[in-house]
């Protein structure tokens, strides 16, 4: 989210590029649809399990409980942060507080310097993407290798994640084989087993030689000081146990009070993200290697990251901090599936990215993102913590209008239009005017249907790709008198 919207092509250009890329859109829709279908099946299964008393609750029950947990934690954030920090220290770990992106980078650099580190292995972490940790460490001469398969692919492609759970969602197998060829120097077939076996072989060596392991966390349990990590490849376990030093970068909103709360959140996260009941690997890390233990890191560092998050507390956007980063909103978003993650430009794309990017990084940035939604509400419907994403997008538009961040043409058109429509007589006058204004643009389809084309100004956005209906000479208001007589 610290990405700078001024340092990239504008939104329209990014969208145009994405819409012109059939490979990207094909790959994106295929995977998004698969994730959506699996999620639906997992949730139906959850509800039927709940009916037999085999689950903690139905989706609706769990969503309500998750919202309570999140609201409670955020309203007592200082308490739970202190509790978590005390527990992590009692377990033998070290706690760092990072107000912004630069703080995270400084902490990690300092640890790397002290340890004389040369190489870093990473498990998937959006928080480190947010603070651009890789680039900063590489500038210091460290070798940084992403160990999540998707992250590894986009690292080779010099890209950023296009999705928060499936970073390489936009890549085809052919494109991935080509990227791996750049590493191996030989042509690889495009079947999944060969490609994953290749990545596994390369990454095993990197795990064994790494001086630092950097991860994020899906949840941090305050009462026990436990870091929780969901992965499907086992790379999270290797990253956090093989290197002598483990560093976890954690957004403050990842805190939950207790292990009971974890059971609720864990019932929701994998089901929402990938349609799994539980991920293949689930790690609960409570402290570094203890005396007498044969393995585990010598040092464990937890960096709690604010980076604008606490500014949301007590505001109308506080609910956005409930997000557990499952990506379900992206998988169902009709905008995301057409333009992909990179067009958004922000670290986190999709509906949740369009809400949090402006509120975390200032309304001056990312003014396009809240506009890039048809407000269909599919995101809210699937959100496991019930964030009212489309309402927040509307509210953001409201704040942007208040700040005068609206194109002049749009502001004038809407002001005149709405001022007239508040007065019934002016509304009807505008109807009549509308009829005459559209006459010069009227055309007919081959089968005789009238439509308007080549409309000027803002309306040209419509007629560039779609026929527009003409205003009827007799509106319904005009016709009512006849209908009334017909009683």
């Amino acid at each position: 989210m610290a990405a700078d919207p001024n340092s990239m092509p504008d939104f329209t250009a990014r969208v145009e590029k994405a819409l012109g890329d059939d490979q990207l859109r094909g790959a994106l829709r295929y995977t998004a649809d698969q994730l959506r279908t699996k999620r639906l099946a997992a949730m139906a299964d959850l509800d039927s399990q709940a009916a037999d008393d085999l689950a903690l609750g139905t989706l609706d029950d769990l969503r309500a409980r998750a919202r309570e947990i999140k609201a409670h934690t955020l309203h007592n954030l200082n308490y739970y942060l202190k509790l978590a920090a005390d527990q992590i220290r009692a377990n033998g770990g070290t706690v760092h507080w990072a107000g912004n992106a630069g703080d995270v980078v400084r902490v990690v650099e300092e640890i790397a310097r002290r340890r004389g580190a040369k190489s870093v292995i990473k498990a998937k972490s959006m928080a480190t993407e947010e603070v651009h940790l890789n680039a900063a460490l590489e500038r210091q001469g460290l070798e940084v290798v992403e160990s999540d398969l998707g992250e590894y692919i986009i690292q080779l492609a010099h890209e950023t994640p296009a999705h928060i759970v499936i970073p390489a969602i936009h890549k085809t197998r052919r494109q991935i084989a080509d990227l791996f060829e750049g590493v191996s120097g030989e042509a690889l077939p495009t079947d999944t087993p060969t490609l994953t076996a290749f990545a596994r072989k390369v990454l095993r060596k990197k795990f064994m030689g790494a001086d630092l392991g950097v991860s994020g966390a899906n949840f941090v349990v305050a009462q026990t000081g436990t870091l929780c990590l969901n992965t499907n490849e086992g790379n999270g376990r290797l990253t956090t146990s093989v290197p002598p030093v483990q560093i976890a970068v954690v957004g403050m909103e990842k805190l939950i009070p207790s292990l009971d709360d974890l059971a609720v959140m864990l019932s929701l996260l994998p089901r929402s993200a990938t349609g799994q009941k539980i991920t293949t690997y689930f790690n609960m890390i409570t402290g570094p290697r203890r005396p007498g233990e044969p393995d585990g890191p010598e040092e464990l560092h937890v960096i709690f990251l604010d980076n604008g998050r606490t500014n949301l507390l007590g505001t109308e956007f506080e609910e956005a901090l409930y997000c557990i980063r499952c990506g379900a909103c992206m998988n169902v978003c009709p905008v995301y599936r057409n333009i992909g993650g990179h067009a958004y430009g922000s670290t986190i794309p999709g509906p949740i990215g369009s809400v949090i990017s402006p509120v975390l990084n200032g309304f001056e940035s990312w003014t396009d993102l809240p506009q890039a939604s048809s407000l269909c509400g599919a995101c809210h419907q699937v959100c496991p913590v019930g964030i009212h994403l489309h309402d927040h997008l509307v509210n953001l538009r409201g704040r942007m209008v208040e700040r005068g961040q609206e194109p002049l043409s749009m502001r004038i058109a809407l002001s005149v239009w709405m001022a007239a429509w508040k007065r019934p007589w002016a509304y009807r006058l505008l109807s009549r005017l509308g009829y005459w204004l559209l006459r010069p643009f009227a055309k007919r389809t081959p089968d005789g249907k009238e439509y308007a084309d080549n409309l000027p100004s803002i309306a040209s956005g419509w007629t560039m790709s779609r026929n527009f209906p003409t205003v009827r000479k007799r509106t319904f208001h005009d016709r009512w008198a006849d209908l009334e007589k017909g009683v």
Binding site: L19, C376, L396, R397, W462
Partner: protein, 245 residues
């Protein structure tokens, strides 16, 4: 029973026949219909573009206009969704207006919802020959929770071959001002949506919203796709007349 018709700005200007159809169909079922002349727009365009004060003014006009109505029925799931879902939220800091908004919202219905839930009719006695697909508009299914009512009405139309919409969850890309502010994305969404219909080869697209129909119909016309668009009420009324009842 007395119903006040809220015509909605889109139907008023572009699809007045839809309003006529609603009036005829309601009357056929013994409902007295009135049309308060002070009505304009529900205010959704203002609300969704961030002009929240304008939207509140338009909502106040609606609250005043329909204050004494027994039921308010409109041929749009999107506008009904706006009234029911957003009006109370808009006035949550003003107790009096909040109560008024809740009361009016409770009496506000989308057309098919009213027919099925309030009047309890499913078979309107219509006959219409077509291979049709129904588009569930987003606000109707998500804000109003109205999903099966229009399908129920369509299933009872004689000679109508209703094919299943493969992705009823997918938005057509209209989104009001979104369609002109972000025309490229909006059009891509329309193409994807229309593309999901193509394998089914329907000749008719039915919906309960002028906006979606205008958008998909306008795109289909432009690309030469043979797909007629029709509002549910219009289909039902034509169907009733076809059946000679």
């Amino acid at each position: 029973m007395r119903v006040s018709l809220f015509i909605t700005c889109l139907a008023d200007h572009f699809y007045p026949e839809v309003g006529e159809a609603v009036v005829h169909l309601l009357r056929r079922h013994g409902v007295q219909v009135d049309f308060p002349s002070g009505q304009t727009c529900c205010g959704q365009p203002a609300w969704n573009t961030g002009h929240q004060e304008d939207a509140r003014d338009l909502a106040r006009n609606y609250l005043t206009t329909f204050a004494s109505s027994e039921y308010i029925v409109m041929p749009s799931g999107s506008c009904a969704g706006h009234v029911r879902y957003f009006y109370p939220q808009m006035f949550n800091e003003d107790k009096v207006l909040y109560r008024e908004a809740c009361a009016v919202a409770d009496r506000t219905y989308e057309f098919s919802e009213f027919m099925v839930k309030v009047l309890g009719v499913r078979d309107l006695g219509a006959r219409y020959k077509a291979r049709a697909v129904f588009h569930n508009n987003c606000h109707m299914q998500r804000e109003l929770g109205v999903i099966d009512e229009p399908l129920e009405l369509l299933r009872h139309v004689r000679d109508l071959e209703l094919v299943e919409n493969p992705r009823p969850d997918l938005c057509c890309g209209f989104g009001g001002a979104f369609s002109v502010k972000m025309p490229e994305i909006s059009t891509a969404m329309a193409d994807e949506k229309l593309g999901t219909f193509s394998p089914l080869q329907p000749d008719l697209l039915v919906s309960c919203d002028g906006g979606c129909l205008m958008h998909m119909g306008g795109r289909a016309e432009r690309t030469g796709m043979k797909l007629k668009t029709m509002h549910l009420a219009e289909l039902l009324w034509e169907g009733v007349q076809n059946n000679g009842r």
